[in-house]
Amino acid sequence: MNAEDIMRRNAHPLKGDDTIESAVDLMEKERLRHIPIIENDDTLIGIISDRDVRDARYSIFSDKRLDDILQKPLTTIMKTEVFTVHPLDFVADVASMLSEKRINAAPVAVDDKLIGMITGRDLLDTLVQLMGADQPSSQIEVKVSNVSGQLADVAAVFKDHGINVTSMLIYPDKQMAYQILAFRIQTMDARKAIASLEDKGYEIAGPTMPDMGGPASS
């Protein structure tokens, strides 16, 4: 999955000689926190964030509107050192770069020409989709030792029961030598699959029954 697959194509750009006031209006109307600044040929020349605008706007403690400041061009406040993303950058790299640089949004550009925008929210939406509850399914988490072949063996159990897997994640267990395989499977009745996994000696990390010593754990 690449940046171009999850970016928003309408980046709501402004021009360098647009006023700060126009950026204030656009941010409020479109609920944006970042606006890329371009030239007439889409060349990216800067970016402004809601913080840049906030710093320039009149103080809430003053009733004087700083009209002359709001009429200044965006070139006076924009940041010109812009971190950009290439449309073919891998989403995981984009996420780690944004995290590392502690920024929340990046324009997507090819040859300095703006083609889209990626924000933290787009990445979170992608995470939700990857964790996969967009199709009706049950979740089973299986704890396996961190050696090769485990995924294939566990997946074979679902195959044997004719159960379709709609998504799966692998993540490290608290114990280093183990991994958790989290499957979303397309069935309402996961009992048979869970029983087969337990028969084969796998530990079901979830759903788990708390130790109640009673009949409900059957």
């Binding site: 009706p136 759903p207 130790d211």
Partner: protein
């Protein structure tokens, strides 16, 4: 003509909605319930109304035509496996079976019949316990459900009676099919209270699912923690239903009465008892009289402990509806026990009160209750704010 009290929509043919002898969605549940009510003397022949099959046009109020065609082909064994899979059919959950279209259409017809009895004021309330197949999608079967009788009947309610409908779903699984059917419709409020989708099918039903467009704020979800017990379940249900009724002012209530939130249910992880299933219809009934001039339609749904839970849980729906809850004390009718004890896989209960099985001590109970209370507050935040605005 004066309105009679309550109608029980049922005929033997409804029991044909059966995937296989081993499938958990068993029609025996319905037979056991009807038989228990009759043995109790709580269900007379005059109260039973035989449903008709829904027409293609009625099913088409919600379902896509090509899906209906696929179900019909499955009915006569002419649906290729590859095509079936595209429609969610032929899986372990919803296998193809002979006459599946007819059986499904009859359950839909039952819920439409229940709606008509109530809306044409022949009866105050009506129950179709064979309905409640809330997972069915427009073009796809899912989670034991082929046609979504409730979604179809609510469309019918909208088109023929222009009523504002409150749909209350207490099945342990999220009522996804009905929710998505009316996600952008401000005249249909859906409330689903269920076990969180963390592990349980279908995985949706988060509090963030609130509706879209015009329908924003007309979808409510209360995803409860696994091992939630009576007290917390009922508190969440009662508060949510009362506040939502006050906000939405429904003309009619459709309640889905899945009974799989019980601690004995083999498919879910909630831990309520029959006490919850006695109270659920009571509150729905109270609200129907308070807001809807009595108009209340109840359907069935999930519930997979067919011997120890379902007969009593579903009887409560009818006993509440027909004002006969006083009959539900002490021993269960001997005649009923005799008839079924040989066939029962689990020991049949002896009393209305749940004495044979008790909920084991749930560790983490305080955390579970605390988390549910927080979920309730977050879920109702929007209407509480709106109500405050309205009072200004």
């Amino acid at each position: 003509m004066t309105r009679q009290h309550a109608a029980f929509i049922f005929n033997e043919k409804q029991l044909a909605y059966k995937f296989s002898d081993t499938h958990p969605f068993s029609p025996t549940r319905l037979r056991l319930t009807v038989d228990l009510l009759k043995s109790l003397g709580a269900l007379s022949a005059e109260e039973i109304i035989s449903p008709r099959k829904a027409t293609d046009e009625e099913i088409g109020l919600f379902h896509e035509k090509n899906y209906m065609e696929a179900v019909k082909k499955g009915s006569v064994g002419q649906l290729p496996a590859g095509t079936a899979a595209n429609y969610g059919l032929g899986t372990d959950d919803t296998p193809v079976f002979t006459d599946m279209h007819e059986a499904s259409a009859l359950l839909v017809g039952g819920t439409i019949q229940a709606v008509n009895e109530v809306m044409e004021e022949r009866f105050e309330h009506a129950a179709n316990l064979g309905g409640g197949l809330h997972h069915g999608f427009r073009g796809k079967a899912s989670g034991f459900c082929i046609y979504n009788d409730s979604a179809i009947a609510i469309r019918h309610l909208r088109e023929h009676y222009d009523a504002r409908v409150l749909y209350i779903d207490t099945d342990a699984h999220h009522g996804d099919g009905v929710q998505w059917a009316f996600y952008d419709d401000p005249n249909v409020m859906t409330l689903s209270i269920h076990e969180t989708g963390r592990y349980l099918f279908p995985g949706t039903g988060a509090i963030t699912e609130k509706g879209a467009g015009q329908g924003y704020g007309f979808t409510f979800n209360l995803p409860l923690e696994a091992f939630t017990e009576d007290e917390s379940f009922l508190a969440c249900y009662e508060i949510a239903v009362k506040e939502i009724c006050a906000f939405f002012q429904p003309d009619v209530i459709v309640s889905q009465n899945g009974a799989d939130a019980h601690f004995l249910d083999p498919l879910t992880h909630l831990a309520t008892t029959l006490k919850t299933f006695k109270m659920i219809p009571k509150i729905a009934h109270d609200m129907a009289h308070r807001y809807c001039n009595g108009k209340w339609i109840a359907v069935g749904g999930g519930g997979y402990d067919i011997w120890r839970v379902i007969p009593r849980a579903w009887s409560y729906v009818w006993l509440e509806m027909s004002d006969q809850t006083s009959l539900a004390t002490g021993a269960l009718p001997n005649e009923w026990r005799k008839r079924w004890s040989d066939k029962a896989v689990d020991p049949l209960p002896k009393y209305w009160e749940e004495v044979e099985n008790t909920v084991p001590d749930i560790p983490r109970r305080p955390e579970i209750n605390e988390k549910n209370a927080e979920t309730l507050d977050k879920s109702l935040y929007y209407i509480r704010r709106e109500m405050k605005e309205m009072q200004k």
